[in-house]
Symmetry: C2
Subunit: 160 residues, 2 copies
DNA sequence: CAGCGCAATGTTATTCTATAACAGTTCCCG
DNA sequence: CGGGAACTGTTATAGAATAACATTGCGCTG
């Protein structure tokens, strides 16, 4: 169940993610404020990574705040609650693509169209855990990001 | 053969890495200039990630150049030739810990002492490749970085 | 050896990313 | 209604990276 590249009903996908966010926040006793919700909505527009400043520009256009901390605080919140993920390689953020699963996902990042998919992490994490154990290393958090080409961009013969 | 955490003859380790760098450059027909060599030496001082600006400070102290591009160009060169790696999660760089093997390694990063080890990548990459294939994604380059505690810091009961 | 061309360096300036610090506001709970 | 915690607004600054352009060094080829 890789989430991201497959065609799907994206309007439903967004609605579900937003509803899930409401639930998560209610259960955690935290507030999904206007700015936070709006940042999530912006990230949910498509399965693509956005930089904090790109998001900030959008917020500014909408009169929701013009300073970097506004965007960063909302993004930190979303990441903390598993509603979005940070893509280290891009210094950017994506909405979580499969609400409901507690996870440390692995990311497939298309270098042509910038789409980001989340793939099943378990086998990779197992292999990583085993390598770490051999080294006597205790893993807290693993980051797995693959650069490459998504199915659509392979078909289009993209090189960049 | 995880490289990094185990105690070892580090002087020999550095010498070998430097000799390897000479070879690689000679074979590739590129020049290991003063700045490039010096940056590699600085990275080789220990198995730890250094930011570009930390390296730049060292270069400045030694009169080898004071502007960011000096450090970035040398680092790009080293990374391009497999003599150093970029740690995305830290926006930092480490010397390659096992010269000679063509590789896309996986990194184990101690959050207490900042040591970085390279662990065998094959099983992790295999699992990742399989997940990518299921998604129809063509992987160019995979980044795997695990945060946690190295053996020494676990023993010391570190929390930060 | 002259001169061409490429690789590498030096430098200025700028952009992008991220956070510290502090003042003010809102909201919930008792 | 009062107190505290969470949230927002804003200023300022730190940190990471690159664009752009002038200059120098080096090797090759004619």
């Amino acid at each position: 169940m890789t989430a991201g590249f497959d065609p799907h009903d994206h309007a439903a996908c967004r609605r579900a993610a937003l509803a899930h966010a409401e639930t998560v926040c209610r259960e955690a006793g935290v507030r999904l404020t206007d700015t936070r919700r709006r940042v999530l909505e912006i990230l949910l527009e498509d399965h693509r990574a956005l930089g904090a400043y790109a998001i900030l520009d959008r917020l500014r256009d909408e009169g929701l705040g013009a300073q970097p901390p506004v965007a960063y605080r909302a993004l930190d919140f979303l990441v903390r609650h598993g509603l979005a993920h940070r893509i280290e390689h891009l210094n950017a953020f994506v909405a979580c693509a499969h609400p409901g699963r507690g996870h440390a996902p692995i990311f497939l990042i298309c270098r042509s169209c910038a789409a980001v998919a989340e793939a099943p992490a378990a086998p990779v994490m197992a292999a990583l855990g085993s390598a770490a154990q051999d080294a006597g290393f205790a893993v807290d958090h693993a980051m797995v990001e693959a650069d490459g080409l998504c199915p659509a961009c392979q078909g289009a013969g993209q090189g960049a």
